[in-house]
Amino acid sequence: MKLYLPLDSVAVALGAEAIAAAILTEAARRGIRVDLVRNGSRGMVWLEPLVEVETDAGRIGVGPMTVADVPALFGSAARHPKALGLVEDLPWMKGQTRLTFARVGVIDPLSLADYRAHGGLQGLTRARSMTRAEIVAEVTDSGLRGRGGAGFPTGIKWKTVSDAPGDRKYIVCNADEGDSATFADRMLMEGDPFCLIEGMAIAGLACGAAKGFVYIRSEYPIAIRVMESAIRIARTAGVLDAGFDIEVRVGAGAYVCGEETSLLNSLEGRRGVVRAKPPLPALEGFMGKPTVVNNVISLASVPVILAKGAAFYKDFGHGRSRGTVPLQIAGNVRYGGLYETAFGLTLGQIVDDIAGGTASGRPVKAVQVGGPLGAYHPRADFDTPFGYEDFAGQGGLIGHAGLTVFDDSADMLAQARFAMEFCAIESCGKCTPCRIGAVRGVETIDRIAKGDAAAIPLLTDLCSTMKSGSLCALGGFTPYPVLSALTHFPEDFTPVREAAE
């Protein structure tokens, strides 16, 4: 009997370890041999822990599981009270275009044989038959842009590093996924770590780099463990060797280290302080050497591009946002999780149709798109297609494609205050607009909360200083949540509210 139960952090946080123990105990009691595969998550968080039972017809999902639901798994899975039918036929799965996440939740994350059997290593094999310039051109032609949030064309970054002179070059994977509502990096590393390894190895070939680092935040213990195991397996199997090797580095709880130059300082063992650009990391990055810094999803999208060709990937998408994007739907949401799809769905389709509105059943008030530095969008923005330029046009950004849904109980002044407070806590301190501006921002919003309307122009002025004067996106983008809250929800910023109370 073959069963699947995710090792993904979400499944574990919702009790998967107790389910795993109960399955093994029950199997032993019945004298049945079970093969329990700890897979990645399919991304349907409301169904976790989701057990899948392999049958002749396919994998039948049962969930969300409790320990009490375990014994009935050993009867007919299809007739289990929590049976969901074939997992691949569920609407959430059928609606997706899974290119980057094709194997996540499907395979055993630490089985290289599984990885190969599901198309793994085809991209690397093809890249090994190409010249450096050909690999770079393939990635450029695919239209892939940085999935970490900045949206910079990946191929152009690679070309800069590839062409740069240097005796040593580095591939650094930014897995410091600190934005609230984002967990795609974590899910990919936990569910298909070889895909990231393959993407980094291809980047190494394209740029002439022999060493890669994966900088993973310390808040992701399971991702760290799975990546480290996968790297050891890849070395043993010869996928990684002296020509290109990878090392995992663990962050230490500083949000700003998700910014690429701060990350490089942290990797070098320094305070995670932002560096001024230029010089670009592509020319003077880790230890002053040419360095590619790419997000997990950017690198993990490379194997499929090399395996199936740039044209295949580019065919998906909308406008200048090509390919697919793993949407991460979170917060107060009925059906939350990871949903990979081509760019171009509208915000309303994502929130109302896919996510089914709020978990509380109350009306959606605001959706923060792109993490703590992203704007709060009202329903009026729901016709905005999901793409880099489209959200920039609405005074926002897509960031790492996380969406946090809030119901009508949200207090937008409190959310704006939190954005400033967060910036004050996490500022690296290098530039004044961010270090001091964020503190003054909290104070100014507190004045507004006490009914001082004269503080509102002061806040917008401060935001404009932070936006144009900060060295990086932390201070520079904190105005997005603050100003969007103020612009779209002015009623939460007026003293009328207090008078009514």
């Binding site: 399971i222 230490a252 070098e268 063992g269 739907i329 703590p372």
Partner: protein, 152 residues
């Protein structure tokens, strides 16, 4: 309490384990914190000497990162997520209840040394918030009942 010779031997071992790494300070500090539960002040001159850094530079790195402690934590460490996705599911209210029940604020330890309460900004459990981590164990859809678990 460790005597200073014992501390110095263990720090030397951790330094030796990380010899040859490029930019080794963070892995070393993680190793020291794993061994001692915090980064003892007494280890700083030894680390600085081994890496050819000033003591001020090492101190600067330790204090920059939220993870590194200069004093031991309580027997349990409870981290509650304060980020937006968890806020949307009532994390602020839950945190207030937990603080009231424990009688402490963020970054404080109960007087009996049982539990240290810390904020965390995102555990990647954003579609099953509020999220928490108790002694390294992840918890989704957390509520103030977590206090009973800590006190048990």
């Amino acid at each position: 309490m460790l005597d200073s010779a014992d501390l110095s031997d263990r720090v030397a071992q951790i330094l030796a384990d990380h010899a040859g790494l490029e930019g080794p300070l963070l892995p070393i500090l993680h190793g020291i914190q794993a061994a001692f539960g915090h980064v003892p002040q007494a280890a700083i001159p030894q680390i600085a000497k081994a890496l050819n850094l000033s003591k001020a530079e090492v101190h600067g790195v330790i204090t920059f990162y939220h993870d590194f402690r200069e004093a031991p934590a309580g027997r349990h460490v409870l981290k509650l997520c304060r980020a937006e996705a968890c806020q949307a599911m009532g994390a602020d209210r839950m945190a207030a209840e937990v603080k009231a029940a424990l009688g402490i604020d963020w970054h404080e330890t109960t007087p009996d040394g049982r539990v240290t309460l810390e904020p965390v900004f995102c555990l990647g459990l954003c579609a099953c918030g509020p999220a928490a981590m108790l002694d390294g164990r992840l918890i989704g859809r957390c509520d103030a009942g977590i206090v009973a678990e800590v006190m048990a």
